[in-house]
Amino acid sequence: MSNNKIGWNDKSLKEMLDESESLFKDTGRYFGIEKLSLKEEDPFRYERAYASLRGALVSARETALHVAASPIVKEIGELCFGLYTPEGDSLVVSTGILVHIHTMSEAMKFMIKNNYEEDPTINHGDIFLNNDPECGNVHTTDVQTIIPIFWEGELIGWAGGVTHQIDIGGISPGHTLVSCVQRFDDGVYYTCLKIGSNDKIWNDHMQTAKRSVRTPMYWELDEKCRLSGDLMIRDAVLDFIEREGVDYYKKFVREAIEEGRQIMQLRVKERLIPGRYRAASFMDLPFKDEAWQPIAKVNRISNQPLEIIVREDGSIYLSFDGASKWGHNVANCMKGAMEGGQWVLLTQILIYRDKVNDGAYLAVETNYPPGTWCNPGDPYLSYQAPWGNLIPAYTGMMKCISYGLFSRGFREEVVPGYSFTGDAIQGGGIYSAGPLKGERWSLSTFEISGQGLGASAVRDGLNHGYAMWNPEADLGDVETWDLFQGGVVYLARRIKPNTPGHGKFRGGANYAGVAFIANSKQIDFFGAREGMVFHGCGGMHGGYPQATGYRLYAKNTNLKDIFQQQKPYPISDDDPSDGDFEKLIEGEITRKHNALIYPIMLDNYDLIYFPMGGGPGYGDPLERDPESVNQDLNDGYYTEDIVSNVYGVVAQFDDEKEEWNIDQEATKKRRDDILNERKQKSVPFEEFWNRERKKITDDGLSEQVKTMYFESLNLSENWAKEFREFWDFPDDFLKEVD
């Protein structure tokens, strides 16, 4: 069957999309809807309708994930499903990794705008596959399966599902790569490709796809998982129409999205204060000594200035004006990634309720400036790990919203940020002995799903239990991961001291892992998180940023002898200046400030260390209750020297009771000393201004800092004007760009 006009009332999908966009532009309301008549006429029927669809999607997700085999999908549930209008606007979402809900909208709109109705045609039973960031995705590793839903010849909507792959056939094994510099390194690309008909995935596609990745079994089962969920959603929608009637469904989907838009604006008016909010976030991209490719061998800092305007009507304007240029690295972001990031933040800090859909997206106007990391405009760049920019950049949104929440009185909702979802150690190898000899294993641990959350204005941040970007902060079962990545054997997973951002309320703390390589050959290893800069935009109201990551590993070790002789081996790196690696093992130990590492080869008995991050702090640390600091010492979250320097708390360790106890008198004196030190070592603002300005004029900036300023000054007139006016520089200062 080939249909030219598969939309409603003999319209094409393109005509429907044009009408939708035109009405929104003219009225500011979805499809120009002025009155939520279905809700007003019969609110119980309306709410029941929404709940039944929502329940169907959650059920589809919970059922479909059992079709998959990869621990990322099956164990931690890194998948989600959505139901969309014919124009590709999300109506209802499942639980799961919601970053992908709006990304699939963009894929559907891509198909509509590129006239898929004519070629390759859209029919009942067709299956489409997409993972192209240019037309609605975050990175190639997130793979989408989309099916149309028809009712009596009309396309009534779309169902879409996303899973996160173990491997995507990129330049190195893994799911979030670090060594890509162009599209062709990112792994296999599917650009809204039709891969099946009559509800069946074509054999030729499956044969090709399985040969395009390093983990073919997981690929095949993930595809079947997504399709299963989509088909369950389609059945649920058709049942709904049988029950409620197609006319009700058509009217309902539009009103529910308009209601979603109104809910967002009402929530903003309920929680925030109108005005201008700003935050400055950064990410280090230290590729100069890491990258293999000449074009990528450059150190850069990504400037991620965020401005949010909360308008009188409750709508939000969000702008990254002043952002750095795109790069020959993995961290570029397409529109889908940016909007996905915006979505995941909004659904967690403002609209965390069941009725979440693209209405919330419509209430936010965005500015992702062309030519920057958030809108490069070049599909041939690499988009493999946009998280490198997305995750730190959107801490700014959390902090800005928190300023508003605080001022409105909702201090319990304040969270100035979160840890970078790293260190995602990755790689893989081949078993060299045993029953699996010759089989491949992949290192893809999702320990990163348990990060430290930022402090709030009334309590400490959640310890090792939060991930803004992953569903439900679930690490999965370690036994399952052990089976999956059997060449990497854990020696320890322990609290890492001094990870939380300091403050009256400290950020969440975190842990670190130590593992060694066993029973394998041809082992790749790589990883990344921030190391040269503090993550994101730091603490709030006097709180400090959390500690940075760093890199530690050991090659050619004597670990085998240590095991045989039953001697102690490293299980932590509590004090990096006097580490157990150096004390307990012999070998080539690498310890670097920079946490990025391009793929290297490891061998059996090599050791790796992977610290997770804490959250940013809130408020002046000198206002932290000394008893809470003492508890931190006893819990191992801080060490004695740091609490003395930062919190002014002096404590002694009772060897007998094995616990820390505060020296009240010494603590009082130490806090007075710190206050005096603040008076002595701080300077009036004018003196700070002169000293700081001199760093720029005396050529005191490093290459990466200068490059950052050149890029932002060249890419944004507004940012350049503000920078130059602040430092009293002439209009042409630093205008020449390399």
């Binding site: 005005g275 950064f282 605080f406 503090f534 709180g543 400090y544 320097n645 701080s682 720029i696 800092v705």
Partner: protein, 164 residues
């Protein structure tokens, strides 16, 4: 709305609520009068008499003084016109060496001075740490939040601001 009485809110502000007490407040629907309740508590808590328009920060408030809207610290120090960045009136310390950064963070666990510095902004009156900025050297000071006070009162609360 669970536990939204004044005493509970005071304890919440002071960080005294246990998780079992705080969780219902986070999970429940928000009290539409929360803003006014917090303002009442803050007026009682501060030692000066100016009317607070907006609580801007843990220690800073936009207040009305002699017909002007200014930023004021709870210690009494005044930062001037709220439309100008109060940080430009602070005392500042910059940590831009390993030596000063490693007073606060272990080795390898702070930013690298070639990439970033850590700024501390203190109130010139009480030397409370009001803000930190982790930014590359030479970055202009960030203006965190400029509230639209009149729009808030008139359009969202449905009444004139107290000084109007």
């Amino acid at each position: 709305m669970t536990g939204e009485d004044k005493k509970t809110l005071e304890r919440m502000i002071n960080g005294e609520l246990k998780w079992e007490e705080l969780k219902p407040i986070i999970s429940d629907r928000k009290d539409p009068s929360r803003f006014e309740k917090i303002l009442d508590i803050l007026h009682e808590k501060t030692s000066w008499n100016e009317k607070i328009l907006i609580p801007l920060h843990e220690h800073l408030y936009v207040v009305v003084k002699d017909g002007e809207r200014i930023v004021k610290c709870d210690c009494g120090h005044e930062f001037g016109d709220y439309r100008k960045n109060w940080k430009l009136k602070c005392r500042v310390r910059v940590r831009d060496t390993f030596e000063t950064l490693e007073e606060l963070y272990p080795k390898y666990m702070s930013s690298h001075p070639d990439w970033m510095e850590l700024r501390e902004f203190f109130c010139p009156g009480c030397f409370t740490l009001l803000d930190t900025e982790s930014v590359p050297p030479g970055y202009h000071v960030v203006f965190n939040f400029l509230p639209d006070i009149d729009a808030f009162y008139e359009k969202w609360l449905g009444r004139k601001a107290p000084d109007k």
